[in-house]
Symmetry: C2
Subunit: 454 residues, 2 copies
């Protein structure tokens, strides 16, 4: 079987820790049994592997998340990137095309689609295994997970099973209801309806038939390549998988799940699951109650006298908010951070230390940049800024205008405007970069490849 | 007359904004009528000048505060620095010696001693003018200010006037009572006692007689110089002016003052006087009550849902505390900041951007340093660290091993270990300094003077 994790969202709801480059599913806030920290997506991949579900995991995501996924999951997963954000049907159509055309999966292989960040337990993955069994046993074309509702929520879609007695393992689906009123939700609960958890299992061939309605893959002698499908991504309609596939399908079954299932999408829900009240350099006084501090800055934080408050500090900003009101921060903070001040990239991480404008109109940007051992930054040139790099940890190879040289902690190199340069880490390598120029924007860059001599 | 402001304290009570290099009286948090900000000591100097009291103002302080006083008050004041912290009697003895021996004041000149940071009003300085009149009229050897008590406090010293009817301008003092119980304080209030506000007026000769008891200034032909008195500072007893002078004096009068008089020494009292609820890059949501945010960092702060809370953020740390509990933070934060992360020096300011230790045992420190126009850093050498300076604003003259060169924004210079260097600002000059070495401590420095060619 093939497991596809849908990784979407940018999300300001967990500001300042989440930003356009680091969605909530990548925040390293969940403590593992060994005391180390993992992100929501790392947790799901670990759980799927530990449940012996599969090692064939593909992340379907936006191109902007490729670097952080590579950084957090390395070669544990394949990655399919959408060229643009559309909706869940096109995203799943692209992932299916990838499995078929790039990975060469057979039409009768079972594919399971799920969100990349539910906060859930072992039984959830056991339920997925049952769904796979149902597809293999030809119970239905499409099998989905039904979450046992705990209250008549207006937020979820509902899956209504047929009322006849059937298997205890699964039920045939009669119909779907999207986000009902509380009164309707109460009626649905009386009919033993489930929440639609966004987990779907089907044979690859079933999905490819639907894909071909919009984009004929095989046309006589010619078969499209995956790259060709991806280039024509905008031809897929902007519609959800629920509307385009689930609600139109004549043959749908649901497998129920009733264990832990949460979306840690707000500070209120996330802090409920944190094992410690402080993460990072923080001290809590004796008069705090139900208060959490997460500090990714070097500056120490001291809190006291607070009740039901979350404090979150990182280069992008500092939040101090009662958990109740933290649900509303998305709009308030929309314009607070002009650019991400911390990013995980495929080669490592950077942190903005200083971003200053001066009376003479000049602008400077100072970053701490860390490359993982063996990783490199592409060969690049800037047209509007010079850079000074002072190496403070490790060893590497620096290229300037085609000349390689070894560099190590203590060395400084200067890269004038319009000079090609790259850097590769021999050991883990950290340097302080001072950018000077106008404008100082990430987009002032041209890239090519450098053929490293070692 | 001569006005002497006593500037003491280091104070963690306003952590993180105050530290050993920046006591509470130097925090630029008070808004002037024109909307610009001033510190408590800047306010007192401005008020004394606006009240036409005097332009002869001397700050008596610890050597560690010399740089920040120069930065905030420039040549508006003279400065006397104690070689070590002792108590108020030695501090005032040293200031009197300075006025007599260095400034050449006459024995009959009136000297007024006051704290450097009361939060008070015009009438306070008018009261000082009355005290000066009393000394000039030979009402008493020592005239002090009596603050009209508002409640039977245990925190203050009390001045008990003689009960006979006397002038409305002043009263003769019968006795002093230090920090009484509440019951005793109530009795003192019934006797029309005043709080001792620590403001004293006397003729310079009166004080010098007492100084000479401990250190004969004139001995036959020879008169000590001020530097000689300062070098022998440890010979003065560690005792307060109240015990050594006020309580022993046979001739003391008190001039009452009943206007605004506050010590803004805790977040609780200080925030009461702030005109704005946010200072710096901060946004307050709609559900806050009696909450103040002071942000000296670049990172934006968003707060919501808070009641009676102070948030203060600067390079030294971040405080989030109910105002009630902010009175107790001194002990809690004692070990939170290993070194000041922001300092005002006589030549300008610096801010620590990053202070990191790496797996290979190396340490790096990155600072943003700004020199005021025309100011310079002394010619210096480090034995354990190299430095890279990247200039990001302005123009200056850089010296390395005796060679001067002009530098400007965009330039980088490297200073290897054991090389003499200095920098002078032609215009306001900012550079990013990356220190690398072991150990990285401020004390790894030798200084001398450089004779600038321009």
């Amino acid at each position: 079987m093939q497991l596809v994790l849908l990784s979407g969202g940018s999300g300001k709801r967990l500001w300042p820790l989440s930003n356009n480059a680091r969605s909530k599913q990548f925040l390293p806030l969940l403590e593992k049994e060994d005391g180390t920290m993992e992100s929501m997506v790392q947790r799901v991949v670990r759980q799927a592997t530990e449940a012996n579900l599969t090692n064939n995991i593909t992340l379907a995501t936006n191109a902007s998340q490729l670097d952080i996924i590579t950084n957090q999951l390395g070669n544990k997963v394949s990655v399919v990137t959408e060229p643009e954000r559309r909706d869940t049907f096109p995203a799943i159509a692209l992932a299916a095309s990838y499995l078929k055309l790039a990975k060469g999966c057979a039409n009768d292989e079972v594919v399971v689609i799920m969100p990349c960040d539910p906060y859930t337990e072992f039984g959830y993955f056991k339920t997925i295994a049952k769904m796979v069994e149902c597809v293999n046993a030809n119970v239905a074309d499409l099998v989905l997970m039904g979450i046992q509702p705990t209250y008549p929520s207006e937020k979820y879609g509902y899956v209504v099973p047929e009322q006849e007695k059937s298997s205890t393992e699964y039920k045939k689906v009669a119909r779907f209801t999207e986000k009902p009123s509380v009164d309707v939700a109460k009626q649905l609960l009386a009919q033993s309806a489930y929440w639609n958890g966004g987990v779907f299992a089907f044979r690859l061939g079933y999905m490819m038939q639907i894909v071909e309605k919009y984009m004929p893959i095989s046309n006589g002698d010619k078969t499209l390549s995956f790259d060709e499908v991806r280039n024509r991504y905008s031809e897929f309609p902007k519609i959800s998988f629920d509307y385009e596939v689930a609600e139109k399908s004549k043959s749908v079954a649901v497998v129920p799940f009733s264990g832990q299932w949460k979306d840690l999408g707000t500070w209120n829900t996330l802090t409920d699951e944190l094992k410690q009240h402080t993460i990072g350099n923080a001290v809590m006084g004796a008069h705090c109650e139900n208060t959490h501090v997460i500090n990714e800055l070097q500056n120490p934080i001291f809190v006291d006298g607070l009740k039901d408050v979350v404090v979150a500090a990182c280069p992008d900003g500092i939040l101090v908010c009662t958990k109740q009101h933290s649900e509303e921060i998305k709009k308030a903070v929309e314009n607070l951070t002009p650019r991400p001040m911390y990013e995980e990239r495929r080669w490592g991480t950077y942190r903005v230390l200083d971003d200053s404008y001066y009376a003479d109109g000049r602008h400077s940007l100072t970053k701490s940049i860390t490359l993982k051992q063996g990783k490199n930054i592409s060969y690049q040139i800037h047209h509007h800024r010079s850079e000074t790099w002072t190496f403070v940890e490790g060893e590497g190879i620096f290229v300037l205008d085609g000349q390689e040289q070894r560099v190590k902690a203590g060395d400084t190199v200067v890269i004038p405007v319009e000079h090609w340069h790259a850097i590769k880490a021999i050991t883990e390598l950290t340097f302080i970069e001072v950018q000077s120029g106008n404008p100082l924007i990430e987009e002032d860059i041209e890239r090519t490849e450098w053929k490293w001599s070692e």
